[in-house]
């Protein structure tokens, strides 16, 4: 399974925890932005680290939302 990562723009407060966990995937602008890809476990760790639960993970094939 591969994951597609998206940012819930209304929820993101640019805490920056995702950048700490996965600097190859996220960058911080006004809010967090997706700038790369990474292994699924790294994406999940980043999503779980977000205090605002603003990282949305989708199954790339089925588009089913897996997180949050």
């Amino acid at each position: 399974m591969t994951l597609t990562v998206m940012i819930d723009e209304a929820a993101c407060a640019a805490h920056g925890d995702c950048v700490d966990v996965a600097p190859s995937v996220f960058a911080l602008g006004d809010i967090a932005e997706v700038v790369g890809t990474g292994p699924d476990d790294l994406l999940l760790a980043a999503a779980e680290a977000c205090p605002s639960a603003a990282i949305v993970l989708l199954d790339t094939d089925s588009h089913e939302q897996l997180y949050p």
């Binding site: 209304a10 929820a11 407060a13 640019a14 602008g29 779980e48 205090p51 605002s52 639960a53 949050p68």
Partner: protein
């Protein structure tokens, strides 16, 4: 409207999250004028939440907390004035006076001086008594916890609880003393407060509620505390976490302060023209109580700083987002959105014993706040519920 020229010098009084977000947003929105940021601490803006967690348990070093690398300020033409506090404001002349006597003229001013920890006069400034607000406070406390075998945390708010949790994980014997009948009872009610007390007790913290410190033993340093119920504690180190007060002493006589904060509207505007406020120092009207409330949290400070920046530039900042905060203790993520008050009805879903539940607070049939314990996936739904309930 053409009488008001575009600003070309913006001064940020304060060097925390709200000021940083204001500066970033100003540049991102295309403002090319001067920005001066007045930081009372000798450090460029840094992130405070790790002070009670990662910095204290040693997983983060002090130098890693900066929001931006030093080069960012030069690259974005943001002038940092470090180690100098704002001392007075003359709104008629549009001048901010600094503690070293310098006078900064502004077209727009952001008041973002944050808050200071309340201190307990009884304890004075003894060597082994800490508060936790700055990175220097955090480094001193981290070093103290290396040595201390027994730690007393006075005040069971989130700072006190997080320090208690970290100290416990570091192997210290921890006692937490709280004046109220339960921790956080004034915000979350006694039922949820009792749950927090229970969590800390299960982790080995001696939680003593409904008690205050009556007397202090020791001279240069505290060796013991005598509580109001006659209980005598022997301690190596004391952390005072009894809340914060907005840092508004320097605004005395400005006419901008009220109820110990700077009242602002939904865009961050104060009563004085061209003067804005954001973060802990800003007081917003609570429509439920009709009172000005200051002492916001991380997310509110971040959003308020950005909103003030947009308003300064004449850009609509959009509708406000309901405020939330979070706390990490013993590996448990606690999230909260909305604003509860004592007397709200509380509905629990899940298993508090297993540290897996949500508590929904409602008033007159409307959801006003949600507390999530180890349920991060429920946050978007909780946020939607509060947004629906408050509009």
């Amino acid at each position: 409207m053409t009488t008001c020229t575009a600003p070309h010098k913006i001064v940020l009084a304060g060097g925390g999250l709200a000021a940083q977000r204001c500066a970033e947003t100003l540049r991102r929105e295309g403002y090319h004028g001067a920005i001066q940021m007045v930081c009372a601490e000798p450090h460029a803006p840094y992130d405070r939440p790790p002070l009670s967690k990662g910095l204290l348990d040693g997983s983060r070093a002090g130098g890693t907390l900066a929001f931006r690398p030093p080069a960012w300020y030069a690259d974005h033409d943001v002038e940092l004035l470090l180690g100098v506090a704002a001392a007075a404001l003359r709104t008629r002349e549009r001048i901010l006076v600094l503690a070293d006597g310098r006078e900064l003229r502004y077209h727009r001013l952001l008041i973002a001086t944050g808050s200071r920890p309340r201190e307990l006069r009884l304890l004075g400034h003894r060597r082994n008594v800490s508060v936790l607000r700055t990175v220097d406070d955090g480094l001193a406390l981290r070093d103290a916890l290396e040595e201390a075998e027994s730690v007393c945390v006075i005040g069971a708010g989130f700072i006190g609880q997080e320090v208690a949790a970290t100290a416990r994980r570091r192997g210290c014997a921890v006692t937490m003393v709280e004046a109220a009948a339960q921790p956080l009872a004034g915000i979350l009610g006694s039922h949820i407060g009792a749950w927090f007390a229970g969590m800390h007790r299960a982790e080995g913290v001696d939680v003593l509620t409904g008690r205050t410190v009556q007397a202090v033993r020791g001279n240069g340093s505290v060796t013991g505390l005598d509580l109001s119920d006659g209980c005598r504690l022997d301690v190596d180190h004391v952390l005072v976490g009894v809340g914060v007060a907005a840092d508004v002493g320097w605004l005395a006589g400005s006419g901008l302060t009220r109820d110990a904060g700077v009242p602002v509207d939904w865009c961050g505007r104060t009563a004085a023209p061209h003067v804005f406020a954001a973060g802990d120092v800003a007081a917003t009207m609570d429509p439920e109580t009709g009172r000005w409330q200051s002492g916001s949290h991380w997310e509110a400070a971040a959003r308020q700083g950005a909103r003030a920046a947009r308003t300064m530039l004449g850009i609509d900042p959009g509708p406000p987002v309901p405020a939330g905060f979070w706390s990490d203790q013993y590996g448990i993520r606690i999230q909260y959105v909305g604003r509860a008050a004592p007397g709200d009805a509380v509905a629990i879903d899940g298993d508090p014993e297993a540290r897996d539940f949500s508590a929904t607070f409602s008033r007159g049939g409307r959801a006003v706040a949600v507390l999530l314990v180890n349920r991060p996936r429920s946050l978007p739904a909780a946020r939607a519920l509060i947004e629906k309930g408050t509009t």
